[in-house]
Amino acid sequence: MSCADPIGFEALVAYWLDELQSADAQTLEQHLFGCRQCAGRLEWIAALADGVRAVVRAGALGMVVSAPFVEAMKRAGLRLREYQLEPGASVNCTIRSDEDAVVSRVRATLSGVERVDVLHRVTIGGVEQPEVRVEDVPFDPATGEILLIPPAAALKAMPAHIVRTRLVAVREAGEAPIGDYTFMHSAQ
């Protein structure tokens, strides 16, 4: 079953994500239909896509995403709760058992900012947990917001707590806070 001229993994990914020119995609398909080995490697990529959808649906993953991704989650039938916070704001928040994810849209002035780190400080029952730093989160400066999705499964299992989140612009000269946000989470 070995293939004398296997298709590169990157080309298979590009094919699956519809990045190839039509003629290149058709040539690749011709090979795939005659080659069990390369078709098997494409099957792994298809399984990865299924797996990613399953993990997102299960709320098993914390993510930083884009607004169009949130719309894609809605189109896929996921039930979302959304909060939008300006710098300095706080919000009473929760997640119900029948909801799939909470999306926090934290707004900030991001123009000219190249790297943002997110710092989280969680307080449970009056006891502050060690600070967690998430480095170099993805964002589009033009949107003026960063979309945070905590892992829903873990969030549902947590008691009432407070999360203090700080966005920090990181530059060579040092770092500077660009927004503080407080989430007062009540358990359902």
């Binding site: 519809d18 298809a46 098993a60």
Partner: protein, 189 residues
């Protein structure tokens, strides 16, 4: 049905020739083996072009039952090039399915509703807990790019447009992230 061990050694074209040359009594073992081999490839083609599991499953049934019928009837001119025949049939059927559900229903009635049942291998499924753990180990930016690329199957330029970076940059991040994911998941490069 017990598997005919001699059949494993045959390539796809030889299997197709056996089916075509079986005469009045269908070669059930060769038909089942050809279906088993080609079903994953047709399913992947269907998923890639239709992006829907049920539609891809319909495609497998329609294309492969039609192919076997044509082989039995001696209507496939070059059985040794059966993979090309099945690809062509898949392309035509996807076009028909896109024309509308009525036409799709007609195709299903014609080629998918018969008494014959062939078994296709179960699609590969990754362990979700292990995948979640491996995604968790990626950097935030890598994780975002992988999830945004594969959740709704979006090309790099589109993901880049959503994140304020170039498509080339997304491809670099994606390449690195997939390398780490494959290693973490025990997938042989």
């Amino acid at each position: 049905m017990p598997r005919d061990s001699t059949i494993d050694a045959l390539d796809d074209g030889a299997l197709a020739r056996r089916i075509a040359g079986a005469g009045a009594t269908p070669d059930s073992a060769a038909e089942a083996e050809l279906y088993r081999r080609l079903a994953p490839r047709v399913r992947l083609y269907g998923l890639r072009h239709l992006r829907e599991r049920a539609a891809a499953a319909d495609l497998v049934q329609q294309v492969l039952l039609m192919t076997i019928e044509r082989l039995r009837a001696g209507e496939v001119r070059e059985p040794e090039r059966i993979a090309s025949f099945v690809l062509g049939a898949s392309r035509m059927t996807v076009l028909e399915m896109r024309r509308g559900s009525r036409r799709r229903d007609e195709l299903l009635d014609a080629w998918g509703g018969g008494e014959e049942a062939f078994e296709a291998p179960e699609p590969l499924a990754l362990d979700p807990d292990r995948l979640a753990g491996c995604l968790e180990r990626l950097s935030e930016r890598e994780r975002s790019v992988v999830v945004m690329s594969f959740f709704a199957e979006k090309p790099a330029d589109e993901v880049g447009g959503e994140l304020g970076i170039t498509g080339g940059n997304v491809r670099v991040i994606r390449h690195r992230a997939l390398g780490r994911l494959r290693e973490c998941m025990g997938e042989t490069p």
